[in-house]
Amino acid sequence: MSTPLADVLQISALVVALVLVHRPLGDYMAAVYSSRKHLRVERLIYRCVGADPDAEMRWPAYLRSVLAFSAVGVLFLYLLLRVQDLLPLSLGFAAIPADQAFNTAVSFVSNTNWQSYSGESAMGHLAQVGGLAVQNFVSAAVGMAVAVALVRGFARFRTGELGNFWTDLVRGTIRILLPIAALAAVVLVALGAIQNFSGGHDVTTVTGATQHITGGPVASQEAIKNLGTNGGGFYNANSAHPFENPDGISNLLEIFLLLVIPFSMPRTFGRMVGSVRQGYAIVAAMGVIWLAGVIAVTLMEHHAPGTASQAAGGGMEGKEQRFGIGGSSLFAVSTTMTSTGSINAFHDSFQGLSGGVLIFGMVLGEIAPGGVGSGLYGMLIMAVITVFIAGLMVGRTPEYLGKKIGTREIKLAACAILVSPALTLIGTALAMGLGDGEESMTNIGPHGFSEVLYAYASAANNNGSAFAGLAANTDFFNTTLGICMLLGRFLPMVFVLVLAGSLAEQRRVPVTAGTLGTHRPLFSGLLVATAVVVAGLTFFPALSLGPLAEGLSS
């Protein structure tokens, strides 16, 4: 089979699978978040944490719960990492230093999973399973809870109530993430990923040297790593490691896992606001951007210039032979556009312009389709901005889903989309201005700059993938990237929840022939244009000095 045909088939198979699954999964999630019944195990949890699962929360209470839960998560994880050496199952690894522990704790709680450490040579099993994997679940569930709260803001009228955070959190974890992750883990094990509590084996290689190979509960973490758009790998090599991602089939499964919830959430949204067509408009916008990115990167990697590349049939540097250009490009675009951050190839080695697409995928604000939950609320915020401009052009003060987009709403939406560009640009500028950036670069010139830009784009947008090449385990990077991850995750959540509260209080503006149809292809197109133009205008100068300068010179 020719390579291009294989790529087309692979992408088509993925799209078909997503199309088939997104409806039942989206409907199921809508049912989960709307259900009045509690499972026995859930009741037990509510009793333990002392939460009343049926109490409705207004935005301040909801926000307080999100922030308190996450703060406790950061603190707990930080302590766990700091005292790792004193606890069982540490595999003999030392405690993690303060700056790195802060960075890692923030990274996992913020669903970023930026890793400035090497999993197999720093983390014991307890830290991996009891700390990191737990956050892989709950940080994802927090994102989904906030998204659902915003959806309720749109769906409800003349009430300030947004649901109950604890209920949303527990249900998201127990009814959605756990079962899918468990199923996926079993499939991954069947496909060859490992799952054990072994301390590792020492093997003698062909050349006679001794190598220590760490084992561990890899498959289970792999499943939630992708499903929850977390991205923190058990091994440093992440999904490029054969124990995490054994072959082409497991690769496709992992890509499917990291896309499935983000692409299904618009269906949940459509169900909950009572018009699935509104959900289709959102998912269409997400899909168009994602597919354009996939096609662009795949084509550019196939047409990598240079004798060696052409002999290899494209840019194979930094890619795994078992995934090839198609499997690597598809993974790279999906992971950067979903805020997942797991990698199966070195993004550093992609063509200059491909790297630009990957960075652009992140600076879009993780909305195509974005992280679990965060993608939906990010895209809905973008929809609010789009409606504001487009709505004026139909001669009415703007409204979306029967809600007026007035001064308060636009203020909150504008603040929410300001956060990640500000963090990315300021962080990169600090790194470049203070010299820390240039010290840590592996490459010089535009490519070196891309490494730094990528790092901050990744942190501020809670992606977590690295361009590689950047030696990021320094005090400066651990701290500034940590701050970017923290603010990049929770500041937008603050604005989103206030916005949700403000929307929920409104009365319904009835739909007439004069109302902008936000369920039509025209609106999806406009949404894509707004997202791309806003991010494009913001980052064009920076991108031109990195990926564009590099890509256009070759």
């Binding site: 504001f388 004026l392 504008a414 640009l425 022939a513 205008l537 920076a542 031109s544 000095l545 300068a549």
Partner: protein, 698 residues
């Protein structure tokens, strides 16, 4: 750019309500380029930073202008620096000019109004005995009673409490025909500054000096009382956040540029920033708002707040009074239905003859119908030999003529039937059937008889104005529901509603019913617009989101509404809605245009800045601009000139035709989105061709 008609004004309504020869107070629409020049001093005065800070986008440009000027002054030989500084100042000036021009149009109107506000001497009635004393008009307080006789200027707003007078209100409305003002009823309000032409009235003053209708009107058209509207504030927030984003993008660019070995001068960075921030819409935003109010003023509608104009765009329910708005308000003859054995011509002749002396609108309409509809020759009442005209009285409820042996009567069916029966005649079933069907359709039947012989029935009906059905259809396409309000019974209301094509009707409506309907609509989230003139309309006018009071109405009504129509033309409500929509569309369109412009500017400026360091970036110079300096300067010049180029559009408003939201969006996106994308590529290239000829730049 000078047009004499504004695009939204439908001809139908102009024809209906502005008979030729009546002067409108101001010319309609249009933009005179000379205004740019005469507004220049005002534009310069607006450079005051305290004024500028109200518009965050232009404030940033102002700071940029000052900064580049200082930088240029420190390198006096740098022609490029001076050129950038100069064009940045021009950008700010052009923005101020747009606002000044918009305000200037209002100022001319204010001046003519001010002429009416001359110092008047009031004849105040003091004490219980009704002595007159002469006091300055400015010394009057609320509740004072003043007397005005023929020739007096009414000293302040108030209600007539005694007497009836004809009043010349041309100073306010531009209508030269005098109007009647009388105590009691809905025509009791008088406006300060208008002149009594005949008779004597006593007026109770209802407003304090300085707060009169005329004063408010002057403040409104001058823009002095202008406050930012909610949507304008929201848009300003969006523009401010875009400005912050671009500020970040430009400020953080320097460390990146240093790494690339292409450190940029502050002048270039400032130029980049100004090109990126949405200056086009930022510069024109307040002009758009002022011009929107102004377009209303040009149609003789005064809005007390910009908020009301915006609300007009959002209206989804229009309450329209039947009489005067949907129908002409008086019944007209539309058909002659002869009785058995009588020809149409015979009936028409008799009806015409009997109505020759009838000066009521109904009577005249019968004569007209006979001539135009039934080909009868026109007749003069004096030409009828030995005619004995029988006038209509409330007792007989019929009128007619006795001439020769003819005893023609026409009138209410009951009255004429009684006379016929009395004289020994009968009314046949066919005639009764015709009467019945006319009543069922909401019309009024008049029976015509000659002595005992019934000739037939005249069909009188309340005629729906021409072209309304089409306009209601347009409104429906715009998503606006029309509800007809009438005091008629449900049967009549239903018939007229069907004929006019309104969506719904409220029959036998009392003011309370009207109020309840408004509240019901609002509870469903719909915005309601209505017109009204009577005091009993006041609560509903206040409750409605857009309440247009007729100038002929009571002061209570005018106080309660948020707009006043000086022409007292209820049909204008439809225009007001369109003006509201046009205002919002203009804002959205220019915002889209402004943002779309940035793409071309990047393609001009980024290669100019960095192609030296990274030659590959020259690929982005798709316009093949001649030099880096010329590229940057051309972008800055384009950015400034586009503001001036769009001033006429901002003042006139984007052309608006009633259509559904999706068509409207695709159309405006095509024009302003795509246009905004392409225009600067062409414009910057053209400017570059000129600029590159300059020494030191090209």
């Amino acid at each position: 750019m000078s047009t004499t008609t504004t695009p939204v004004r439908p001809e139908a309504d102009a024809r209906d309500h502005h008979p030729a020869g009546q002067p409108a107070r101001v010319s309609r629409g249009g933009f005179d380029p000379r205004l740019l020049w005469s507004s220049l001093p005002a534009a310069v005065r607006k450079l005051d930073p305290r004024t500028m800070v109200g518009s965050p986008v232009m404030f940033v440009v102002l700071i940029g202008s000052a900064l580049t000027t200082v930088l240029a002054a420190s390198h006096p030989a740098d022609a490029f620096g001076w050129a950038i500084a100069g064009w940045l100042w021009l950008t700010v000036l052009f923005a101020n000019l747009a606002e000044a021009v918009a305000e200037g149009r209002g100022r001319a109107q204010a001046a003519s109004l001010r002429a009416a506000r001359t110092d008047t001497v009031a004849r105040r009635l003091s004490g219980r005995n009704g002595d007159e004393e002469r006091v300055p008009g400015t010394a009057l307080g609320v509740g004072d009673l003043v007397v005005c006789e023929a020739g007096d200027v009414i000293p302040g707003d108030g209600d007539v409490i005694e007497g009836v007078a004809s009043v010349d209100e041309s100073a306010i409305t531009g209508e030269s025909a005098p109007v009647i003002r009388e105590s009691g009823g809905d025509r009791s309000a008088v406006t300060g500054g208008t002149r009594v032409l005949s008779d004597r009235i006593t007026v109770r003053i209802t407003t304090r000096p300085g707060e009169t209708f005329l004063d408010r009107m002057i403040a409104l058209v001058e823009g002095a009382a202008r406050q930012k509207t909610p949507n304008e504030i929201a848009l300003n927030i969006l523009l401010a956040s875009l400005t912050i984003v671009f500020l970040l993008a430009v400020v953080t660019l320097q460390p990146f540029a240093v790494h690339a070995g292409a450190e940029q001068s502050l002048v270039v960075l400032t130029a980049l920033l100004v090109c990126l921030i949405p200056t086009t819409i930022g510069a024109l935003l307040s002009a758009i708002g002022i011009a929107g109010m102004d377009r209303l003023v040009q149609r003789n509608v005064l809005a007390t707040s910009g908020r009301a104009v915006e609300a007009a765009g959002d209206v989804s329910t229009l309450l329209l009074d039947k009489t005067g708005t949907i129908t002409h308000g008086n019944r007209r003859a539309t058909a002659f239905l002869p009785a058995a054995g009588v020809t149409e011509a015979e009936l028409a002749e008799a009806a015409q003859l009997s109505s020759l002396a009838d000066e009521t609108p109904e009577g005249r309409s019968i004569v007209t119908l006979a001539v135009t509809g039934y080909g009868r020759p026109a007749r003069d009442r004096d030409a009828v030999a030995d005619a004995d005209w029988v006038p209509f009285t409330a007792q007989t409820r019929m009128s007619g003529v006795d001439t020769g042996d003819r005893r023609i009567r026409k009138g209410a069916v009951g009255a004429v039937t009684g006379r016929v029966v009395e004289l020994g005649g009968t009314v046949t079933d066919t005639t009764l059937g015709a009467v019945e069907s006319i009543s069922a359709s909401g019309g009024t039947p008049l029976l015509v008889a000659d002595g005992p012989r019934v000739l037939g029935v005249v069909h009188l009906k309340d005629v729906v104005k021409e072209g309304l059905r089409e306009r209601f259809e347009q409104l429906r396409a715009m998503g606006i529901r029309t509800v007809m309000i009438t005091g008629d019974n449900a049967r009549t209301a239903k018939a007229i509603a069907a004929e006019a094509g309104v969506d719904d009707y409220l029959a036998e409506a009392t003011p309370e019913d009207k109020m309840a309907l408004i509240k019901r609509e609002q509870a469903g989230g719909r915005l309601v617009a209505m017109t009204g003139d009577g005091t009993n309309d006041a609560p509903a006018l206040a409750q409605a989101d857009v309440g247009v009071a007729m100038n002929t109405g009571t002061s209570a009504a005018k106080e309660a509404g948020n707009m006043v129509d000086l022409d007292s033309d209820p049909t204008k409500l439809i225009d007001i809605v369109q003006i509201g929509k046009q205002l919002l569309i203009t804002r959205g369109a220019l915002t889209t245009f402004s943002i779309a412009n940035d793409i071309a500017k990047y393609f001009a400026i980024i290669p100019a800045m960095f192609a030296v360091a990274y030659p590959g970036l020259d690929t982005l110079n798709i316009m093949r601009l001649s030099s880096p300096e010329s590229a940057i300067l051309s972008a800055v010049i384009f950015n400034a000139l586009i503001v001036v180029a769009l001033v006429p559009l901002a003042l006139r408003g984007v052309a608006y035709r009633p259509m559904g939201a999706d068509q409207l969006l695709s159309r405006n996106l095509g024009v302003f989105g795509l246009g905004g994308l392409v225009a600067p590529f062409v414009g910057i290239k053209a400017i570059d061709l000129v600029v590159s000829l300059l020494p030191g730049i090209g």
